[in-house]
C-alpha cells in the first residue's frame, strides 16, 4: 500500500503540479502574503496608477490633478521631441537585438569548448555583464572622446579619419548600441552555450553518419534546436533595449540635439525636471504598450516555429 502511494507521488509530472502535501487551507496563502503584497504595491498598483495618471494633468508642483482625457497623448504625438524619442528608442532596440543576439550566437559556437583557454575567453566576454553600467559608460565615454580618446588615436594609426562617435546625431545611437552590446553579449553567449551543451551528441553523430556538411548541421540542427533559447533572448534583449537609461544619462544626456534621447530618459526628464507627471506617465504607457505588443508578437509568431527536442 505504502509503496503504491510513493509511486503515485513520484509519477506526478515535475513541471507545474507539485506533490500533494497535506496542509491547512490557508497555509499557502499566508506564506505567499508578503510576496503578493510586494508585487501588488510595486508592480500592479504603480501600473494602474501610471495608466490613470496619464489621463490627468498631474504635476509635482500642484495638487488636485484634473482629468484631461487623451490630451497628453495628443500632445505627445504632436511633439517633435517625442517622435524623435520614439524613433531613437526603436532604432536602438532594433540594432541592439540584432547585433547582441547575432554576436552572442557567433561567440557561443566559437567558444563552446571545454578547455581552460576557452573558458578563460568566455569569462573575458562575460565579465562586462556583471560590472556596473556606470563604470562601463564612463570608460567608453573616455575611449570614445573625440579629442583624447583611444579609439580615434587607433584610427589615426591606420591613417583613418577620426570618427565622431557620440558627438554626431548620426553616429550617437550606433555608438551607444556598441557599448550596450559589449556589456550584454557575454550573458547572452552564456545562455546559448548552455543551450548548445544540452543538444545531445547523438544527433550530431547521426548527422555525420548521414554525411551532412558543417553548414547543414548548423542550419538544420543547431539553429532549430536553439530556437527556444533564441526566442527567450529576443524577449529579454528587446525589454533590455527599451528600458535603457544609464548609458544615455551618463554618456550623452540625450544629446546631441535630442538624437539619443530614449523613452526612459524622456520620462525621467519630464517627471523630474519639468514636473509634468501626467505627460510623463502617458509616455510610460506608450512604452508599456510597445513592450507588451512586441512580446505578444514574439509569442504568437515565433512560438509556432520554436522546436523543442
Amino acid at each position: 500500500m505504502k509503496r503504491k502511494d510513493s509511486e503515485n507521488i513520484r509519477s506526478r509530472p515535475n513541471s507545474g503540479s507539485p506533490l500533494k502535501i497535506k496542509h491547512g487551507l490557508l497555509v499557502p496563502y499566508v506564506m505567499l502574503l508578503p510576496a503578493m503584497a510586494g508585487l501588488g504595491a510595486f508592480v500592479v498598483y504603480p501600473l494602474v496608477f501610471l495608466v490613470r495618471t496619464s489621463f490627468t494633468d498631474r504635476s509635482m508642483l500642484r495638487k488636485n490633478p484634473r482629468f484631461v482625457g487623451l490630451s497628453n497623448y495628443v500632445e505627445l504625438f504632436h511633439s517633435q521631441e517625442f517622435l524623435s524619442v520614439l524613433k531613437n528608442s526603436l532604432l536602438y532596440a532594433l540594432l541592439f537585438v540584432v547585433f547582441s543576439i547575432a554576436i552572442a550566437l557567433l561567440f557561443a559556437v566559437w567558444l563552446n569548448k571545454p578547455d581552460r583557454f576557452h573558458s578563460f575567453a568566455q569569462s573575458a566576454v562575460f565579465i562586462p555583464y556583471i560590472v556596473s553600467f556606470v563604470t562601463i559608460s564612463l570608460v567608453w565615454l573616455w575611449l570614445m572622446d573625440p579629442q583624447y580618446g583611444l579609439l580615434n588615436s587607433l584610427l589615426a594609426v591606420f591613417k583613418l579619419k577620426p570618427y565622431p562617435w557620440l558627438s554626431d546625431v548620426k553616429t550617437v545611437v550606433p555608438s551607444l548600441v556598441l557599448v550596450s552590446v559589449w556589456k550584454y553579449v557575454g550573458y547572452y553567449m552564456l545562455l546559448l552555450i548552455a543551450a548548445l551543451q544540452n543538444i545531445p551528441q547523438s544527433i550530431y553523430d547521426a548527422a555525420k553518419i548521414d554525411g551532412a556538411s558543417g553548414r547543414a548541421v548548423f542550419l538544420r540542427i543547431t539553429i532549430p534546436l536553439l530556437t527556444p533559447s533564441l526566442f527567450f533572448l529576443l524577449v529579454v534583449s528587446t525589454t533590455e533595449a527599451l528600458r535603457v537609461f544609464d548609458p544615455i544619462n551618463i554618456m550623452t544626456q540625450g544629446g546631441p540635439i535630442n538624437s539619443s534621447s530614449v523613452f526612459v530618459y524622456f520620462i525621467y526628464e519630464y517627471a523630474f525636471k519639468y514636473f509634468r507627471i501626467g505627460y510623463a506617465s502617458a509616455g510610460g504607457v506608450i512604452l508599456f504598450l510597445i513592450i507588451g505588443i512586441l512580446v505578444a508578437i514574439y509569442f504568437n509568431m515565433l512560438a509556432k516555429k520554436v522546436h523543442y527536442q
Binding site: 502535501i21 497555509v27 506564506m31 510586494g38 573575458a124 565579465i127 575611449l143 513592450i291
Partner: protein, 281 residues
C-alpha cells in the same frame, strides 16, 4: 596529392589567423578594464596627451586618495553595503515562503498568482518608477533606505530560482521526513532549508551584483548624500561642464568594480549557473 599539399600549407596560416582572432576577442573585452587601471595610475597631464599612452610613465597612487576625498566615499560605501544587506534580508523573508508554497502546495489561484510573479519578472522598473516615487513621497519616506529596499523584496527572480530548486528535491526525502514524524514546518526548516543553501547563495550573489551596480533606482529615489550609494558618487565625479579628471574618475571606478571582480573570482561558477538557470526556465 594537391589537396594534401594545400592542407599542409594552409594549416599554419589558419592557425595564425585563429590565434589572431582569439587575441582580438580577448583584447576587445579585457582592454577597457586595463584602460581603467592604467589611467587610474596616470597623472592628469598624462591623460591629456594625444595619442594616449598605454602605460603610465611612473604609476602614481594619489588618484585613489583623491577619489576618496572628492566624494564622501565611506558614507556612500556604508550606504551601498547597508542597502545590499537590507535588500537581501527582506528578499529572504519574502521569497523563501513564497517559493516554497509555489513548489510544494496545491491551492486555488496558484496559477494566477504565479502569473503575477512572471509579470513582475517581465515588467521593467523603469516603467513604474514615477508612481513608486510618488508613493514613497506621500509616505514621507523619500531619502530613506525604504524606497531603495522595499521594491526589491518580492524578487520575481528569487521566487523563480528557489521554486525551481524546491521542485527538484526528490520526494523521497519529504516522505522520509513524514515517516520520522515531522510536520510540514519541521520539514521546511530542518530538511529543505539546509538543502537549499546553494540556491539561496545564488539568489544572494545575483542580488548583490544587481544592486551593488544599480544606478537608475537610487538616482531617481534619492537626492541627498545621506542615503545615496557608491555608483552615484562615482558617476558624479564626472564634470559635464569643464574638465573631467579622468585619472581620478578611473581610480574611483576601480574602487567600484573591485568588490564585483572579487566576487566573480571566488564564485564565478555559481554566478554563471544561477544566470543560466534563470534564463532557461
Amino acid at each position: 596529392m594537391t589537396s594534401n599539399l594545400r592542407q599542409l600549407t594552409s594549416k599554419p596560416i589558419s592557425t595564425v589567423f585563429k590565434s589572431l582572432a582569439y587575441l582580438a576577442l580577448i583584447c576587445m573585452f579585457i582592454f577597457p578594464f586595463f584602460w581603467i587601471l592604467s589611467n587610474s595610475l596616470k597623472t592628469f597631464q598624462e591623460t591629456m596627451v594625444f595619442p594616449p599612452k598605454v602605460f603610465p610613465e611612473k604609476p602614481i597612487f594619489s588618484n585613489y586618495v583623491e577619489a576618496l576625498k572628492r566624494m564622501p566615499f565611506f558614507k556612500y560605501l556604508i550606504n551601498s553595503i547597508t542597502v545590499n544587506v537590507l535588500i537581501l534580508i527582506s528578499q529572504f523573508i519574502v521569497i523563501i515562503p513564497a517559493s516554497y508554497a509555489f513548489a510544494m502546495y496545491r491551492f486555488r489561484g496558484r496559477g494566477l498568482l504565479f502569473t503575477l510573479v512572471l509579470f513582475g519578472f517581465m515588467l521593467p522598473q523603469q516603467l513604474t518608477f514615477v508612481p513608486i516615487y510618488l508613493m514613497f513621497g506621500k509616505l514621507k519616506l523619500l531619502n530613506s533606505y525604504a524606497p531603495l529596499v522595499l521594491p526589491f523584496a518580492a524578487s520575481s527572480f528569487g521566487i523563480f530560482l528557489l521554486r525551481q530548486y524546491f521542485m527538484g528535491i526528490p520526494t523521497e526525502i519529504i516522505e522520509a521526513g513524514y515517516l520520522d514524524g515531522m510536520n510540514n514546518r519541521q520539514i521546511m526548516i530542518y530538511l529543505m532549508m539546509p538543502m537549499a543553501k546553494s540556491a539561496l547563495a545564488s539568489v544572494a550573489l545575483i542580488s548583490f551584483i544587481t544592486h551593488w551596480n544599480d544606478y537608475f533606482w537610487p538616482l531617481v529615489m534619492t537626492n541627498t548624500q545621506k542615503v545615496r550609494t557608491l555608483p552615484l558618487g562615482v558617476a558624479a565625479l564626472r564634470v559635464t561642464d569643464g574638465t573631467t579628471e579622468w585619472n581620478v574618475l578611473m581610480a574611483a571606478n576601480m574602487l567600484l568594480i573591485l568588490p564585483i571582480l572579487f566576487t566573480y573570482f571566488f564564485a564565478h561558477k555559481q554566478i554563471k549557473e544561477a544566470l543560466i538557470h534563470s534564463g532557461i526556465k
